[in-house]
């Protein structure tokens, strides 16, 4: 697939298109997409103030990333009407490179979900409107698939929120190494897991936006002090990739047709010169529960600040402080947010803290060691992104919370470990896209980009 973004940058540079005309053209397109699929919570198209690497490129921003002057709700009613007084570092960076911010994309409330249904705006799957987009960055992936104009989405993943919707919507999503992109300005879900990444139509597009938003930031103590990289230069074919195929990622719960497609993709890479070997990642089973324990424990503290006192959803001042904030939180939070507050609080209370929260942190170290062991011998790990194709809205409604959490079974471990991963389309099952998941060691984005690009250009 050709990168519209690459073409567009050339055209704007050479003066073949006028930016104003282009913007008014995409405005109409965006409105049409919105009326049919609802990928946006807020549409606001801003002309660029500067020229740079992304001059004239439309960028959508997931709603949990703060944008100065544009409502940022993170998909929650409790932040309805909240207009941040500052830009997230990554937003500042893309604005500095001349991009056209087009609005804020839909998501599960605070990132709590895998279908983008836990919110007040619910995007529909571009391939079948009766199906979900995946989540939590559902709006970002939905818009990316539907846009027939150059566009890249800024998304965010805690436990699979970039890979999942990218797979369900048939687009490319990169989740970088934890700390690669500053989280300053990201409305927290679980701070030790949250990663801002990108979704695009091609590997090149995602790599381009990632190059712009990466880098050390003094405002985020957990951001990594590594040198800046131009990830687009890794969009090159590499025939010497060593691939690990973990058997735990092809288990019972995974749709056999998806397994077949992923195996086909691996064989394809082999035919292009890669070598693969089946391996075992024995800690995989423990990754999902420990991911949820850590994520919920952190989330339950992050959500405490929303109490109708300083910003966001307010109501008439009645009763004492506790009565007031309880009422605000009762009305403002959705069901899933409430569930995670309760579960997360439970996991960190005296008497349970050792058994749940602290044990989950230990498991996390083991999961990282597990991956490290594999990456000593291999460049990338290949697996299906999701165990199923995008489910229908009515199917999702019937799921018990635990069944919904099981959706993250293949994405939880790499997210818990903070390693980079990319999901890219590798075929269709029942006319719905399937994602190939490639993972690499910390800071080895280069390897997944090379492997993904190699597959992409030969598909």
């Amino acid at each position: 697939m050709k990168s519209l973004v690459k073409e567009h940058i050339e055209k704007i540079k050479s003066g073949k298109i006028s930016l104003d005309e282009f913007i008014s053209e995409i405005k109409k397109k965006i409105e049409k997409i919105q009326s049919e699929y609802s990928p946006f919570i807020t549409i606001k198209i801003e002309n660029p103030e500067k020229k740079g690497k992304l001059y004239g490129i439309p960028i959508s921003v997931k709603d949990n990333i703060c944008t100065q002057g544009i409502q940022s709700t993170a998909g929650s009613k409790i932040l309805e009407g909240y207009v941040p007084p500052f830009d997230a570092t990554c937003v500042k960076k893309v604005k500095g490179q001349g991009s056209v911010i087009i609005g804020k994309t839909a998501q599960d409330e605070f990132g709590f979900g895998s279908f983008s249904v836990n919110s007040f705006v619910i995007p529909k799957n571009p391939w079948d409107k009766t199906r979900v987009c995946g989540g939590s960055s559902g709006g970002a992936a939905c818009l990316t698939a539907l846009a027939d104009f150059p566009h890249i989405a800024m998304a965010e993943s805690t436990g699979g929120s970039i890979s999942c919707p990218a797979a369900f919507c048939g687009v490319v999503g990169i989740t970088p190494t934890y700390g690669r992109v500053s989280r300053f300005g990201l409305i927290d879900y679980a701070n030790s897991l949250d990663k801002i990444g990108t979704i695009g139509k091609t590997v090149y597009d995602t790599a381009l936006l990632l190059s712009v938003i990466s880098g050390y930031d003094t405002l985020d103590s957990t951001s990594l002090e590594v040198r800046d990289e131009d990830f687009t230069k890794y969009c090159e074919e590499n025939s010497k990739i060593k691939i690990a195929v973990p058997k735990e990622y092809f288990g019972e719960g995974v749709d056999p047709k998806i397994k077949d497609l992923v195996w086909k993709a691996i064989k394809k890479l082999e035919s292009l010169g890669a070598k693969y070997q089946e391996v075992s990642l024995s800690q995989t089973t423990y990754a999902l529960p420990s991911y949820y324990l850590i994520a919920m424990a952190e989330a339950s503290t992050n959500l405490a600040k929303f109490c109708g006192m300083r910003y966001g959803f307010h109501s008439e001042l009645k009763g004492n402080f506790e009565e007031y904030f309880s009422q605000i939180r009762k009305l403002g939070f959705g069901e899933e947010a409430k569930r995670r507050i309760i579960l997360g609080t439970y996991a960190r209370m005296a008497g349970f803290r050792d058994a749940y929260y602290l044990k989950a942190l230990k498991v996390r170290s083991l999961v990282i060691q597990d991956f490290r062991r594999i990456f000593k011998k291999f460049d990338v790990i290949a697996a299906p992104t999701m165990p199923v194709i995008a489910p229908r809205f009515d199917e999702v409604k019937k799921l018990e919370p635990i069944e919904a959490y099981m959706m993250d079974v293949l994405t939880a471990a790499p997210n818990l470990a903070g390693i980079p991963m990319i999901s890219l389309p590798c075929g269709f099952v029942k006319s719905l896209p399937v994602g190939l998941h490639l993972m690499a060691d910390h800071l080895q984005e280069k390897k997944i980009i090379q492997a993904a690009h190699t597959f992409e250009v030969n598909e």
Binding site: A74, P85, R183, G185, T218, E298, M309, M349, Y357
Partner: protein
């Protein structure tokens, strides 16, 4: 009944910026909610960033209090809902604090220090329409939110209010010598105290502001618990609030079990390594104990007086040394500082720093005594006016016409007149009744408006009645 007291002291560290953002800490007298930013207001998406200066200050305090400094520290989230908390959790330290296991010696006894840690101060709350239990509403000023607090926790090693007072005074002086704390700031030092009688439950008194209130709160609480025991009632495990106006403590909430703050590691901050080279790079100034030793050696003043001067207040010790540069009778200087100067400062409820007492004018007073221009007795009167006003002592002497009678002849005249007027007393004196002598001295002093030296007067009367 043995009393057991343990205290937690919270002090504002004198950093220029707050603990996790660059807002100014200089909030006193400022318009409320002006020294704030998205970070100290806990806005969505904002992230804390550690002010290393606060850790420097914490390390200095830990060293001065003989603590073991942990080589790697981290911050944790302490969760509870309260309107003074911007995030409804406080970034504090839990499992591994900055330092542990120290002590501070007072009155020849070691008070053990359990831990020292850093945390952010919540907002300042102003209760409107009543006190903490009866207010109709509360105003919050987030200027204070995020100011670095150093929390120092002692073991329950105190057995009296006096020990607590000595401890706080010395601690404050140490922190002042380290230049990390300003005791003159309101709310700069807050204390939580746990008090129990041996064998009984303990009550915790929260948030007592200032030294004087700590003493009052503790005294009240000890009496309350003793009275309960006397009438056969049990002290309940609870948190109490000290009301500075009524000088009494009141139940805030019953405590059947430990409060559960659901601590997690602060995931927005990384671990901080405190290397030996970091610790060594921080210069330790002369601390109070060493300063007392030096005062004794250098100025040859009694240790007891040196201790008072140094432990009360660094500013007082600095004052002593400033005076010593222009006045060499150190013994006289020390004596006057620890007795009359302190008495007058306390009477006026001010510290040396707040007062208008300056070395030059204070030394002027001492020189008037030395030159025999005024008596010590008169000096004691003059200092009462000098301390609150800062007026030159010579000026006071002039204004009040309080000149010492210079010549003995002049004094003799007065003495003779008194003898003449008090025949009976003179007879009594001659008969050996000593009281009569004091009676006569009193009359002479009255006539000379206390400008005469009683010792000289006494000798004169004895001589002239023989």
């Amino acid at each position: 009944m043995k009393v057991l007291i343990g205290i937690e002291i919270h002090v504002h560290l004198l950093t220029k910026a707050k603990l996790f953002c660059s807002c100014s800490t200089d909030y006193e007298g400022k318009e409320p909610n002006n020294l704030v930013c998205p970070i100290c207001l806990g806005f969505p998406g904002s992230k804390p960033k550690v002010n290393k200066k606060a850790i420097d200050f914490g390390i200095l305090a830990a060293k001065a209090l003989n603590c073991k400094i942990n080589p790697e520290i981290f911050f944790s989230r302490k969760s509870y809902f309260y309107p003074d908390m911007p995030k409804n959790f406080q970034i504090s330290q839990y499992e591994i604090p900055l330092a542990v296991g120290g002590y501070l010696e007072i009155l020849g006894k070691k008070i053990r220090i359990r831990r020292i840690h850093l945390e952010e101060d919540p907002a300042r709350l102003v209760h409107v329409g009543g006190d903490i239990t009866s207010a109709t509403h509360v105003l919050a000023d987030y200027n204070r939110a995020g100011i670095p607090l150093l929390e120092i926790v002692t073991e329950p090693d105190f057995t009296s209010t006096k020990e607590v007072r000595e401890f706080l005074s010395k601690l404050s002086s140490i922190l002042e010598h380290l230049e990390i704390f300003d005791p003159s700031k309101e709310a700069g030092l807050r204390v939580d105290a746990n008090i129990s009688l041996e064998g009984g439950e303990r009550a915790e008194i929260k948030n007592i502001t200032g030294f004087a209130n700590v003493e009052k709160a503790l005294n009240y609480e000890i009496i309350r618990q003793k009275n309960l025991r006397r009438i056969g009632k049990k002290v309940e495990r609870e948190t109490r609030h000290f009301d500075a106006e009524t000088r009494s403590t009141h139940t805030l909430r019953k405590k059947e079990f430990e409060e559960d703050y659901g601590y997690i590691f602060e995931p927005d901050l990384t671990k901080i390594e405190i290397s030996q080279s970091w610790i060594k790079s921080l210069k330790m100034p002369e601390l109070p104990d060493k300063r007392v030793e030096r005062f004794v050696k250098q100025y040859k003043i009694p240790k007891q007086q040196a201790s008072v001067i140094v432990y009360i207040d660094k500013a007082l010790a600095d004052f002593f040394e400033d005076c010593s540069k222009i006045y060499k009778n150190y013994k006289q200087l020390a004596k006057w500082i620890v007795t009359d100067l302190l008495k007058c400062l306390n009477w006026n409820k001010i510290t040396i720093r707040e007062s208008r007492v300056k070395p030059k004018s204070f030394v002027e007073l001492l020189k008037l005594i030395d030159k025999g221009k005024i008596t010590e007795r008169l000096a004691k009167e003059i200092i009462k006016e000098y301390v609150p006003t800062g007026k030159s002592p010579e000026q006071i002497v002039k204004e009040k016409k309080l000149v010492t009678i210079k010549g003995k002849k002049e004094l003799e005249k007065v003495v003779l007149a008194v003898i003449k007027e008090n025949k009976k007393a003179v007879d009594d004196l001659k008969a050996g009744r000593k009281k009569a002598l004091e009676f006569l001295v009193g009359h002479v002093l009255k006539k000379t408006r206390k400008t005469a030296d009683p010792k000289v007067v006494r000798e004169l009367i004895e001589k002239l009645t023989k």
